[in-house]
Symmetry: C2
Subunit: 321 residues, 2 copies
């Protein structure tokens, strides 16, 4: 399925490079190779899964349109994919999502429906009504095989690029929300680079995946929203993604928000890349948790770069201060 | 010479991608394709020329070491290339160069000698004494065939990537200081993409190349330093680079510092890239001077990303305000 998705994404998704900096190697105490999905279309890896899922639909079904729930990155990925196929997209977004993400989703031609996350509005109810009324197809953000396959195309690239860089063994740290990217990469590595092992990375307070893997069953976070890592804050791992991660992934890594901000500042300074907080979690783990990682080299994703200027300035100022 | 340099750079210089954003296309009124040399090793295209020149030296000569004058990007390019060959590098830098560039050059193993630009110290005298004493070879920043050939490898990539993107005709806007990158790209395009035309881009007050091309003879700037675009502020075009640019380049484009800051903010927001002021000049021209550009598509370099946090924050705040 991942190879089929890669075929459908060819000429559409960008093949992002694998970057490095001697300055980051020195901090981490080992080679650090960075897969910058912030350079993907729409500024995050989510375009891969969005395009894979939309392109897999029957043309007649697809023509009626698609619908997605998202705080922003999945929203943009699905919106762009729908626009490329000339079909309508409805995106249900929390009203407190970053402004840039809401604006971009609208600019990509999607109809954005905002709901009040704190006020108890149910996005599922809003979505169900719209879906029935218009015959839309729901594109889930992670617990959906075609979406996982699309995210897995990132893993196929990592397998090939790591081999070119002479890295055959080691950990691949992945920014993890519901587990779509992590499980997709894990499946790709199983097939193409069995010496590499995917490991989910999460911020403190939202370490549902790390705890779930440690316990061997799905556990939820105390709260489903909050913190600075909006892109990867999910209540709990998906059913499908958890099954894959349990089978294939190493233990999860958990980083502090301060480490996330410091990693954003280092991505700015050393890689010339813009990482959003949720997208900098794996780099933070690579740089600041070296004792929890195995091998002479570590690979990490920067999963997205959709961050408002104010938050980015906060990261740069935190690092200076 | 460019193809020979490309051979020597293979496996060393990064092949940077060609990026785009529908949001930038909309601002510019045409397709905008961006060549992000900020993702090159050392954060600027200068590594290409530095490595090309150092690798072209006779091993016996090279072993004695190299010396360069630079406000920062050429410094880092030469320092890294020298380190890769295990030979000493002495870099003469102005004491008021951005702190990041001085620190990085030292961290890459070079001996940094600072001079007081305002106080009238002659860097040429300092350099001449060191060169004679130690038998170092001077690597000039732009008016040197091997350096131009190295920068030209960026043009070979542009020619191929533009063809892949379906762009056969149009302007290639290049951030221009002494003209090394501009003339190198111009030569590469002449050979591999004759429908593409290189055009130098400069900030107001430092438009020596634009005026020189318009007059048909080398003209100098009123002042040799100042402004925010430290990477590309040079007194006048080089002899060799001017000859090449006169023969091959279209008219120069001149942008304001405000446009440069706005382009930096848009590179942050839309491309997730960190551009330094001098590196954002061509993007500023592509976005804000559409009437001076020909064709349905425009290609522009982001030539470097070595910017201090304070200047980057200024760009983000200027754009918001």
């Amino acid at each position: 399925m991942i190879r089929a998705a890669a075929g459908r994404l060819e000429g559409h998704a960008r093949r992002t490079p694998l970057l490095s900096s001697p300055f980051l190697d020195e901090i981490a105490g080992r080679r650090v190779l960075v897969k910058p999905e912030c350079l993907q279309h729409t500024g995050s890896f989510k375009y891969r899964g969005g395009r894979a899922a939309v392109s897999a639909l029957e043309p007649k079904i697809r023509a009626k349109g698609v619908i997605a729930f998202s705080s922003g990155n999945h929203a943009q990925g699905v919106a762009l994919a729908a626009r490329e196929f000339g079909v309508p997209a409805v995106i249900i977004m929390p009203a407190d999502a970053p402004r840039l993400k809401i604006d971009n989703t609208r600019a990509l031609g999607a109809e954005v429906v905002l709901y009040d996350r704190a006020g108890g509005e149910s996005r599922e109810e809003i979505g169900a009504a719209l879906t029935e009324e218009r015959g839309l197809t729901l594109i889930k953000p992670y617990d959906e095989p075609e979406v996982i396959a699309g995210q897995g195309t990132c893993g196929l690239e990592i397998a090939e690029q790591a081999r070119d860089a002479g890295v055959e063994r080691g950990d691949v740290l992945v920014c993890c929300g519901g587990g779509g990217l992590t499980s997709g990469i894990a499946l790709a590595l199983e097939a193409d680079a069995p010496g590499l092992r995917a490991r989910p990375c999460e911020p403190e307070g939202f370490d549902d995946t790390a705890r779930s893997l440690a316990e061997g069953r799905i556990l939820a976070n105390a709260t489903g929203a909050g913190g600075i890592c909006d892109a990867i804050v999910t209540p709990q791992p998906g059913e499908i993604t958890f099954e894959i991660m349990s089978r294939l992934c190493g233990p999860g890594l958990v980083v502090s928000e301060h480490e996330v901000l410091a990693a954003m500042a280092l991505a700015f300074q050393r890689l010339k890349l813009v990482a959003e907080p949720g997208g900098a979690v794996a780099l933070a783990a690579a740089l600041f948790h070296p004792g929890e990682i195995e091998g002479d080299a570590v690979i990490c994703t920067i999963s997205g770069g959709n961050v408002d200027a104010a938050m980015f300035i906060r990261a740069l100022q935190t690092a200076k201060g």
